[in-house]
Symmetry: C2
Subunit: 197 residues, 2 copies
Amino acid sequence: MVRWQPGATERLSVAALELFEEHGYDQTTVAEIAERAGVTERTFYRHFPDKREVLFAGSGQLADRVSAAVAAEPEGARPSLLVDAALAGLAASFPDERRSYARRRQARLDAEPALRERELLKLATLKATLVEALVARGASDPAATMTAEAALSVFHVAFLRWIGEGEQRGMAELQREALGELRAALGGANPGADAGR
Amino acid sequence: MVRWQPGATERLSVAALELFEEHGYDQTTVAEIAERAGVTERTFYRHFPDKREVLFAGSGQLADRVSAAVAAEPEGARPSLLVDAALAGLAASFPDERRSYARRRQARLDAEPALRERELLKLATLKATLVEALVARGASDPAATMTAEAALSVFHVAFLRWIGEGEQRGMAELQREALGELRAALGGANPGADAGR
DNA sequence: GTCTATAGTGCGATAGAC
DNA sequence: GTCTATCGCACTATAGAC
């Protein structure tokens, strides 16, 4: 007989999402999550630094993919190309199969301010990762910061639509749409911005 | 003899910032903050819903000013004018006299992830407030969201520079600079975007 | 795996302003 | 009297220390 089943991190995440849906975040104790996952409360804290983190198990991978996508572009590439690469890296992490799970998860994040805070911190961390990757590809400091701000704005808006009720389009298309809207909102047609593609 | 001195909220904020500077956020208990402010621990929680909130006492006013500034613009005004109004409302909340206090406070926010999370939540709330105000002035939904994203990006970048070491320029000028950088980062010169002023 | 500090809540009592 | 701000006490759960 095995001492413990593998995949404790995922079991804890799944158990937590279920319990949050059943009784709400506040009304769910870490002990209950651990019990449903078949581990002790102490073990929960070996896998997650705190209760909020339990719904953010995959956030590290996301940042890694963005870094890799930008790093794959040639040194000194135009910012708009780097943005495209970053957005492509993000879109790859949100295939349509995950949409249903993402909707359930997002509903919990939206319902609980404590989880929303953590989500915002993850997005900010992702933004910092992107700035770092852009600088490594030769972008200068103010441009890298504003480019990352814009890219994350586009991603976030697209993601919210992706998990919106009845939405069928994929992340890549929704990101293209949001990028166009951002350009339009800033008041210019930006002629030639996409001329290189 | 009076039973309690007025201004408990501000006393608690000041005491908290001092204690965080002296011993760090984690090593400061709510009881210590309350004691320095001359109230009990229970009273702390009547002024602030939790420990993190103690450094965000004025955040409601900020949102109110942004709302008011946008609401003062004419119905159906161009988005770029509404952005200018929103940024002007924000800049008015950061006069040079507050810069020194803002630097001390920001140093604490940067040092403590828990406080950083709350800061991000406040910024997101401010963004939502701005979206609401823009929609009330006739902006359509996608444009309002992206405009607010852009405006908050500009504000945040400008604010970080405003409290930067040795920075002398005011918020209004720094916001103009950041807005120009954002437009440049998106790849177009945006001719005519500022023609109305 | 056990123990403990402390964040945060619920409820009741109290004292002053009006 | 009502209203509001404070205090006191008991209590749970988180999270870290040992």
